[in-house]
Amino acid sequence: MSTMSARTASTRTIPLSRLVPWLLAVPVLLLLGYLVLMDNGAVSQAGGYLHELMHDGRHLLGVPCH
């Protein structure tokens, strides 16, 4: 029975050349986080709508809401 193969650190490491292109997703995800947690119309141009819709989540996730 083969158990979990003992893998060295080097085989688990993902080369930076393969990782870096995916980091483009980070600003998109941070923007999503901003819209959910902090937008009051300045970025979304939706007025206070996102603030009102996400209101309960903002309070209970602990970010300053108003």
């Binding site: 980091l23 959910v36 819709l53």
Partner: protein, 250 residues
């Protein structure tokens, strides 16, 4: 590989966000409703007769644009999308850490990263600028309070970096390394907390018990998210690492 991890982080983050939403709905909504009742009572008393005079340009004050029922549904949208965003970023950080820093086991690395992430991104800012229910906090200062809150998140993340560097460079066994790492995390956090300005905008007469319960529930919501996400992500990574089973991209 990175794609698999990213998809796993997004899907499991969304799932953990919804789980946290269930907790927030059950434990938090009653507190929110109590606080909103106090907020409305205070507003009614304060505004008196000239309620809408100063906001002539259709600028909405708090509350009327979206009903309370929609806001309660919006809670799940907010925690779900929050989980999606955090899960995605977490997966990419995890992909960078894997094989470079931290435990050798995929599952243990996921759990350690989630635990440390919770401490740095949630507990550190919470200790200095704890969550506030409606009726607490001056709307005029929300911009500066948000910046201070983000500042404490950065302090938490930098302190983790300092702690990890310390743990890897201090000579001697675990009895030297671990206390050094903990100190390297705690000292910058405490110093920053003492230096950054305090925020105390609790109105006179706001019930202390309600404030405490709300803050506890808010921290609990984040704990439920990070604990479920770390467990799910770690489980999925461990499962995928087993060579005898087909790889499951969660």
């Amino acid at each position: 590989m990175v794609r698999t991890l990213l998809v796993r982080g997004l899907v499991l983050g969304l799932l953990a966000g919804l789980v946290a939403g269930v907790f927030a709905f059950a434990a938090g909504e009653p507190r929110l409703d109590e606080a909103i009742a106090l907020e409305n009572a205070a507003a009614a008393q304060q505004h008196g007769e000239h309620a809408h005079g100063e906001h002539a340009h259709g600028e909405h004050e708090h509350g009327e644009e979206v009903s309370r029922g929609t806001q309660k549904a919006g809670l799940f949208l907010a925690t779900g999308l929050y989980g999606l965003a955090v899960g995605g970023v977490f997966a990419l950080v995890y992909a960078g850490l894997r094989g470079r820093v931290g435990p050798r086991s995929d599952g243990a690395l996921a759990l350690a990263a989630a635990g440390i992430g919770f401490a740095a991104v949630i507990v550190v800012p919470f200790l200095k600028y704890p969550a506030n229910p409606p009726a607490v906090g001056d709307p005029e200062t929300v911009g500066s309070r948000t910046l201070l809150y983000l500042g404490m998140i950065i302090v938490g993340l930098l302190s983790v970096a300092v702690a990890v560097t310390t743990a890897r460079s201090v000579p001697g066994g675990p009895w030297a390394r671990w206390p050094a790492a903990v100190l390297a995390f705690v000292v910058p956090v405490v110093v920053a907390s003492l230096l950054l300005p305090p925020v105390d905008e609790v109105p006179d007469g706001f019930p202390a018990t309600l404030l405490w319960q709300f803050r506890l529930t808010s921290l609990g919501t984040q704990l439920v998210f990070w604990a479920s996400f770390g467990t799910l992500f770690g489980w999925a990574c461990d499962r995928a690492a087993r060579p005898e089973r087909p790889t499951v991209a969660a």
